[in-house]
Every structure is written in structure tokens, then in C-alpha cells.
């Protein structure tokens, strides 16, 4: 029994999540990155609810709550704080300019579709349409980390990557076992905090959060 609404909603949410990811590639202001990330997280938490409702898995509501707390509330809060501290810094010259990175992101999404063909074919889940989009989101996250010079942006890229994986897990399996999920959240939180600490340390020692200047250790 496939509920077409479920399929549509889930695909829509995944598309929206991907869109916010792409938005990130387009913007240059650190503040707008946080906005994009936050919006994406909101969409994903809604997706949790959708899957929880249609998939009849009440556990997911709890997870969604946790997700909201973490990624919609806590992380953006810290990110904003950080962004205000480093407000002067912008992504001036990314390694790849905006048009090229957008085109590359498009290619990545197409690649994701191609790669996920057997996966989609395998599944009879109503949510399967969103799977390639999730992988696309993962690739976009990678692309952000790869092409942007500010440590701050890289953290956001990493968070988007994580979001992509979350979407993948959610759409593919209706959520992974709770114990793992909890561990993953803990890790995500810890990882975020650790990265945040390092960004401050970076700023403290290098007086900038430009990753570009981290080139003393070589060979």
C-alpha cells in the first residue's frame, strides 16, 4: 500500500533540503549560511514527522524533537554567536566560483541519481524517490567543505553532509535503530562543539578563520 501523498511529501522535503544546500553554494555571507542550514534542518525535522506519521513509527517524533533541539535551535545559536564574532570575514574567493560550484553541484546530483538507480530499483518504499536527493545532499555538503575557505563554512558544509546522511537514513529505512541514533546525535553534538572550539583556537592562533593559511605542515 503506497500512499501517494507520503511519496510526494517526502520527495518534496528532500528536494527542499537539497535546495537549501544549493543555496549555501550561492551565498557568500556567513550569516546567510546559518539561515540556510537552519531552514534545511527545519525541513528535515518536518520530514521526520511525515515519515513518523505515514510510516506509523511514533519513535520518530521523539527523534524529530531531538533533531529540532540540536540542529534547529542549539547549533544555529552557537553558529550565530560565532558568525557575529567573525562578522568581518566573508567567503570572498572560494576555490571554485559560484557558477562553477553550482554547475558542479548539478553534476553531483545527476551522479547521485545515476549511482542510486539500483538502490531505488531495489526498494518498494514510498520514500524511495528522495534517496538520490539525499545522496546529492551529501555530495553538496562535500562540495561546500571542498571549495570554501573559511573554517566556519566548512563546519556548515559538514553539518549539511550530516543532514544528507540523516535524510538518507530516514527515507531509506525510516530511521536507524534508536540506540545508534542517539549515539549519532551525541557524536554530532560533540563534533560540532569540538569544531567550534577549534575555530576559536584557529582564530586565536592565526587571527583568522581562513583555512587557506593552514599550510605549514607539509611533506
Amino acid at each position: 500500500m503506497v500512499d501517494p501523498l507520503f511519496a510526494q511529501l517526502s520527495t518534496l522535503a528532500a528536494s527542499l533540503a537539497l535546495l537549501f544546500g544549493l543555496l549555501l553554494l550561492w551565498r557568500r555571507n556567513l550569516g546567510s549560511y546559518v539561515d540556510a542550514f537552519q531552514s534545511q534542518s527545519v525541513v528535515i525535522s518536518l520530514l521526520f514527522c511525515v515519515v513518523g506519521y505515514f510510516g506509523e513509527d511514533p519513535q520518530l517524533y521523539g527523534v524529530a524533537l531531538l533533531f529540532v533541539a540540536l540542529k534547529v535551535w542549539l547549533m544555529p545559536r552557537y553558529l550565530r554567536k560565532m558568525q557575529q564574532r567573525f562578522a568581518v570575514e566573508r567567503e570572498r574567493e572560494p576555490y571554485l566560483n559560484v557558477p562553477s560550484s553550482l554547475i558542479l553541484a548539478g553534476v553531483a546530483v545527476i551522479l547521485a541519481y545515476a549511482l542510486m538507480r539500483p538502490v531505488v530499483a531495489l526498494s518498494n518504499l514510498p520514500t524511495r524517490g528522495g534517496l538520490p536527493l539525499a545522496l546529492g545532499l551529501i555530495f553538496v555538503g562535500l562540495l561546500v567543505i571542498l571549495t570554501r575557505k573559511k573554517a566556519f563554512t566548512q563546519v556548515i558544509g559538514f553539518l549539511i553532509l550530516e543532514n544528507g546522511i540523516t535524510v538518507l537514513a530516514l527515507l531509506g529505512t525510516y530511521g536507524i535503530p534508536l540506540i545508534v541514533e542517539l549515539g549519532v546525535f551525541l557524536d554530532a553534538l560533540m563534533g560540532f562543539l569540538v569544531m567550534q572550539i577549534f575555530i576559536y583556537q584557529l582564530h586565536g592562533t592565526f587571527e583568522s578563520i581562513d583555512v587557506d593559511q593552514l599550510n605549514q605542515l607539509r611533506h
Binding site: 549511482l115 538502490v119 538518507l168 563534533g191 593552514l214 611533506h219
Partner: protein, 485 residues
Amino acid sequence: MTFLFLLLPPLIAALLAGLVRPTRAWVARANALLSLIPLGAALVFAAQAVAGQPAATFGPGELLRADSLSALLLLCVTGVAVLALFLGPNLGPDSHYDAEQLRRYQIFVNLFIGAMLLAVSANNVGVMWVAIEATTLSSALIIPLSLNKASVEASWKYILIGSTGIALAFAGTVLAYFDFVSLVGPIANALNWPVLLGNAHALHPEVIRLAFIFLLVGYGTKAGLAPMHTWLPDAHAEAPAPLSALMSGVLLAVAIYAVLRWKAVVDALLGPAFTNNLLIGLGLLSMVIAAFSLVIQRNYKRMLAYSSIEHTGLICLGLGLGPAGIFAALLLLICHSAAKSMLFLLAGGILQRYQSTSIASVSGLLKAMPWTGGLFATALLALLGLPPFGMFVAELALLKAGFAQDAPWLMAAVLLLLSVAFVSLVRHLNQLLYGPVPAGVAVGESFSWRSALFCLNLGGLTVLGLTLPAPLMILLNQIVGIVTK
């Protein structure tokens, strides 16, 4: 129950370090002593495995499980942990860190060890992933124990590359789980390794191939497999010596362990050719990069780090060479853990005396620090695969596996690369050992219990080289049996 003895002591030690303020010397001593308990637990697991008892499990949904493979890794981790904690910065005569740094070190190094222990004793591959991710976080925090540009740079690279890589591994885990859920249906404890392995034949090959790529790239990043290895020389060189020892000695092994677990699952479905080719390819690439990076190397800690990459490559290559190769790889893993951790610990002492990590500015080591120098030289020669140490046997075992698999060209390449590394390392070693002691460096060193501990370690390596003890043989053969089922 034994699992509690395994996992609780590091947590207790971390708590202790966090709670006792101001820091007291006895905390470090207690910590060192506490580290013996997990070692005992690991020995118990190993003994149980050797005795042929079924793997012990623990916790809800058999969260923890210790089969032969886990037992072996537990032994490595706890053994190196004992070395690192006994020879850590708090217990030495030399502590040049302040109290706050020491506390931070104490807390996170224990969490790090705890995470590694959890990773290799977790039954659920998701939990394993969580634990491995935790190792990155806990170790990253103490790499820049003393803040400077280099250590901050190294740790940022470490955490970003490590986290990204490990996130990919999670994507792989999710994909595999998705595959499982789609084809086998939702089973309780589906992510438990024996369940995965048992149902592997029902999985979808194409999906599992994609999943394995993610897993290999992900865990390979942690294992220092080229070309994902780039964080490794930086992090290992900048970390405090005991942490380098733990990272190089066992963290790599833990990551390889994760790959091996997944390889077993994938092989059960696809046959070994797919994973073998990938492992051999990446292993060989790692060896090429590491061997040639060793030729011109000016920093001895980085030198050791590159040698770790080389060994990771060698081990992965071994894993791709069938049962005999897995046997050799495991042996390599053990010997590498023992030798490399010792080398990093000794390198810490050298750094302290000479105040430089540059090979050019360290000379006359045998004069300035006869014990450290002698032990360092011996350990390095052991690492290079010279008799009578275990690595000689391990490398020959690998060779044997390769030739038995009819891969003579591969073996020729391996041998040549090993020789390049061999010559380079001997050259660098001689530069360190001989020559005049630079002005301003104190001369002389007396025998201490620390040196005795190292000698013990070397003794173990020698035993491995002369005769593999029967229990170890049983254990290794059991492991080979498990992962090639």
C-alpha cells in the same frame, strides 16, 4: 560482566581526572594502574576465545560482543594503552605541561581509549561507527595540548578530514542497513554483525557494493589509507607522544578492524574478489606514497607516521590476499602496534631532550641517550622486518600469501617498495643515532623502569619472531575462519 571491567576503568579514570581538583600526582598513577584492568579483561576474552567458548555478549540487544577478532584488537588496544599510560606525560620526570593541560590530557586520553575499546567490542556496527567517530573527537581535543600554530593546524585538518571521512562511513552503514531492511525485512538487532553476516547472502549486491565503497573510504580515512591519509603525518607528528603512540599503534588498527568486519559481510555476499581488489589497490597506493615520502623526510615523527601509512597499506594488502593474507595482516597489525607505539613514545623522549623534531638537529642519540637510542634503533629495526623480530615473520607470511595466491608481480612491487622504505629509514636512523651530540643537549641517561617496560615489549616482539605461541596461532586462525566464512 567482563565487559564492565573492560570499559568502565577508562571512564572512571576520566572522571577521576575531571573531578580531582587540583590535579594530583596520584591520579595519574591510579590511572596507569586502572589501565591494567582492561588488559586483564582483554586477556580473559582472548583466553575464552582460545578455549573455544562462544563469543561473550553483553547488554540489551547483545550490544557488546567479543569474539576472537575483538579479543585480539582488545589485547592490542589495552596493551598499548598500558604502555601509553605508564609512560604518559604525567608519570614521567619531565612533565612540561601545566596542570590544566594535564587534566585535559588525562580526561580525553581515557575517553579515547574507552572509545577504541567500545569500537572493537561493539556488536552493532552502528555503535562501532559511533565509537570510532568518538575516537576522532576525543583525540582531536588533545592534539593541540600545547597550543601553537602547527598543532592547531594539524588538529583542524585531523578533525575535518576525519569527521568527513567517518561521516561517509556512516552513509555506507546506512546504505547497507537500508539494503538489509529492504530485502530481509526489519529484524531486531539487524545491525549486529553476526546477524548481518548471517543474512548477507540475501542482500542486494549492487547496493552493498556502493555501501562498501563508502565504508572503505570512510574507515580508510581513519586508517590512514592513501589517498585519504593526508591528515595522518600532521596529526601524529604534532600530538603528544603517548597520544601518537595510541593513534599510530592502535587507532589505525581499530579502523582496519572496522573495514575487516565489513569486508567479511560483503565477501559473504559477493565473494572476496571485489573487496580484495579494492584493498590491494589502495594498499599498494598507500605503500607507494609512504615509501617515497620516507625518502626525503626531515622530521622523525613524520617519518614514523609515514611508516604507519606504509604498514596500513601493507596490512590492507594482506587483507586482500585471502586467508593466508589475512593471517599475515593480523600478525603485521600486532607487530606494528607493539613496535610503532614504542617508537612514538621514545620519540617523545627524544623530542624533549633535543627540543626538535628535525632529523638534522638530532644526532649522537646513542651518546646522549644510550638507552632511548638503543631501544629506538632496535624497535625501528624490528619495524623494518629484520630478524629476530615478529615483523620479519609477518612480512614473510605476507609474501607467502602473495606467492601462494599467484601474485608475484604484486609481491615484487611490495618488496621493492619495502626496500625503498627500508633504506630510507635506516639512513634516517643512522643520522639520529650517530654523530656528535649538539651543543646544549644534556648527555647521559640511566636505566629506569621505563626502559625495562620497553625491553619487555621488545622481548614480546622477539618471541613473536622466534616462535608464535600456540594460543596466538589458535586465535589468529579462529579470526581467519570467522572473517572468511
